[in-house]
């Protein structure tokens, strides 16, 4: 590690506190600011070293924005991002540069994230050269080792991305993310564009690499079944807010928040004999430009009552290490009896 301060034992590798990212909307004749997209509106979590945390939710919930904010691909509106207990959101570009090699990213589409005019060797070597980590024959050895790690043949380094299939290209993108010796890899829908059988190969590769190298993963995905296979903990987002966070088994065996339950029940099960009780949410996700008052999920929640429309529920510990943001958990006596019974029965 290049930074001089060694973190206190037990410090999570990554901490995100009250992260907000609002994108201004410009319009009108003078192009003035006419509003905000509240893409991420107060999200906190941490990831321990060697752990996988998955951010799940539907399009527009802000999960990718969180990933990009952690990568400092744009400045954040409010909140703090800490790496090994040290704030990185307020660092200058120069101060941030040595830390950049510790956080790398794998994007969704390996057809657009790899430069078609570069050979694999140059693609994978670029971060190593950028950070001055190796040169000459040592560089070739490192590229070769990285190709071994992602199970591609070493002679692939003299070929171009178009010669590879989608799954192989995603391996190249993973090799590039590993190249500077990173400890945190952000996978932004990294397997979503791949076919079923190839997806399985990449998911297995990621968990192998994690065990082998002690990697920490922030896995951003809308695919709940994939997440259940590779994650340690899960955070569910809805319209820029976190609604539930728990370890894998707790979340998938007993989903708690009404949105999590609806999300899980909506996933089709590949068994024609299973007929499930399904919570079908009505309507669409509201716009993040003008999010609903109170609980942001109240417009689609099957168990909504008056308080949800005015009072925003806070994320709080509801036992078993689970965090949930729902009025149904908090003050049971203020919840209308019928709603509570409906929620318990569902």
């Amino acid at each position: 590690m290049s930074n001089s301060q060694t973190p206190a034992p037990g410090t999570p590798l990554l901490e995100v506190k009250g992260l907000k990212k609002h994108f201004p909307i410009h319009g009108g004749i003078l192009g003035g600011k006419t509003g905000n997209v509240f893409a991420v509106d107060g999200v906190s979590f941490d990831i321990k070293r060697g752990e996988t945390l998955s951010l799940v939710g539907e399009s527009g919930c802000g999960k990718s924005t969180v990933g990009k904010a952690v990568l400092r691909l744009y400045p954040i509106t409010d909140g703090e991002v800490l790496l090994d207990g040290r704030r990185i959101d307020n660092l200058s570009a120069g101060e941030l540069r040595p830390l950049r090699k510790r956080i790398q990213v794998v994007f969704q589409d390996p057809f657009s994230s790899l430069n078609p005019r570069q050979k694999l060797r140059d693609i994978i070597a670029e971060p190593i050269i950028n950070f001055g980590l190796a040169s000459g024959s040592e560089l070739d050895d490192r590229v070769g080792d990285l190709l071994d790690k992602v199970r591609l043949p070493r002679d692939a380094m003299y070929r171009y991305p178009h010669e590879f299939s989608g799954g192989q290209r995603q391996r190249i993108a993973i090799a590039r993310a590993l190249a500077p010796g990173s400890d945190l890899i952000i996978c932004d829908e990294a397997v979503s564009a791949l076919d079923v059988s190839v997806k399985a190969q990449i998911v297995n590769l990621l968990s192998d690499l994690q065990d082998e190298l002690g990697l920490t993963l922030l896995f951003i995905s809308h695919d709940l079944a994939i997440v259940e296979h590779l994650t340690h903990r899960v955070a569910v987002m809805y319209l820029g807010k976190m609604v539930e966070m728990a370890d894998r088994k707790t979340l998938f065996s007993t989903p708690h928040h009404p949105y999590t339950r609806a999300l899980l029940s909506a996933v089709p099960v590949p068994d024609p004999t299973v007929k499930r009780q399904r919570i079908i949410l009505r309507g669409d996700v509201p716009s993040p430009i003008n999010p609903p008052s109170g609980c942001r999920f109240h417009t689609r929640c099957p168990f909504v009552f008056d308080r949800c429309k005015v009072d925003e529920p806070q994320l709080r510990d509801v036992g078993m290490g689970r965090m949930s943001a729902c009025h149904l958990d908090v003050v049971p006596d203020t919840v209308p009896e019928a709603n509570r019974q409906a929620a318990v029965a569902a």
């Binding site: 399985a200 296979h229 024609p272």
Partner: protein, 334 residues
Amino acid sequence: MSSSAPLLEVQNLQTHFGTVDGVVRAVEGVSFHINAGETLGVVGESGCGKSVTAMSILRLISTPPGKMAGKILFKGTNLLELSEPEMQAIRGKDISMIFQEPMTSLNPVLTVGRQIGETVMLHEGVSARDAEQRAVEMLTLVGIPAPGRRVREYPHQLSGGMRQRVMIAMALACSPQLLVADEPTTALDVTIQAQILELMRDLETRVGAAIMLITHDLGVVAEMAQRVIVMYAGRKVEEGTAEEIFLNPLHPYTRGLMGSMPKLGSSLHETGRSKLTEIQGQVPSLRKPIIGCAFAGRCPNVTDVCRQMAPAIELKAPNHLVACHYAPRVAVAA
């Protein structure tokens, strides 16, 4: 399989494309049928020929570079022998299609009412006013709120789920007997997908159209289809009732596909993280003729026979066709 003639019968369909690099054999001898009112699921990964099969049925393949051979019998008429005007009379009326991308398959400069009404005006010769009336009825049918207002809106004013509902409304406007749905929910979020699947199930009973549902999502097929065909490298490798295919898959590719699909609820059975089954290797190139079984290069049970001789598709269990030399052996090994 019913004794009456099926609604659609595809016999030995071959769709090839001539390219500068040689002929791409996208569909190589596929036969299947769809009975009136049933949902047939067509499963396979990218490049297996499932979409090209759908496009061939609607004759949406431009020839050249495409070339189609075989027979596509729709109520006894071979669609491949019809003239283009005759085919136009069938498209959108007797057979209609829902595409994957509701963003790109709607015309951005026409109101959704115009787009739904256009089909009705073309096929039924009704006035523009009646066509709009029909469009409102169709939007109501597919569950769009305030259809009277929405009918005058443009696609960009609608969300992804609503656009897909508009696509379905358009496809159903002339009460088709066969609906070809190519990945109808793939671009949608899972809660919206659940809404659309519920709608399609509901419409299947109300409208009575047969559905050819093309998807790579085994979960969607399990929920929707009565019968399933599995395609690989332009060939049909397995066919059967949904229960047979999902509970007793016989082809090694189908079994690999089922194993590599992550299933929700995996954390309930194991304590640690679990490994998914991988299908090793890549799909073979369709530019070269494949000798022997198309899956031989990736099959865990491959023998010399597989590499030399293509397996015929045979009945290996009641209502269950498999193209594998060793299918019964595979079943025993499980």
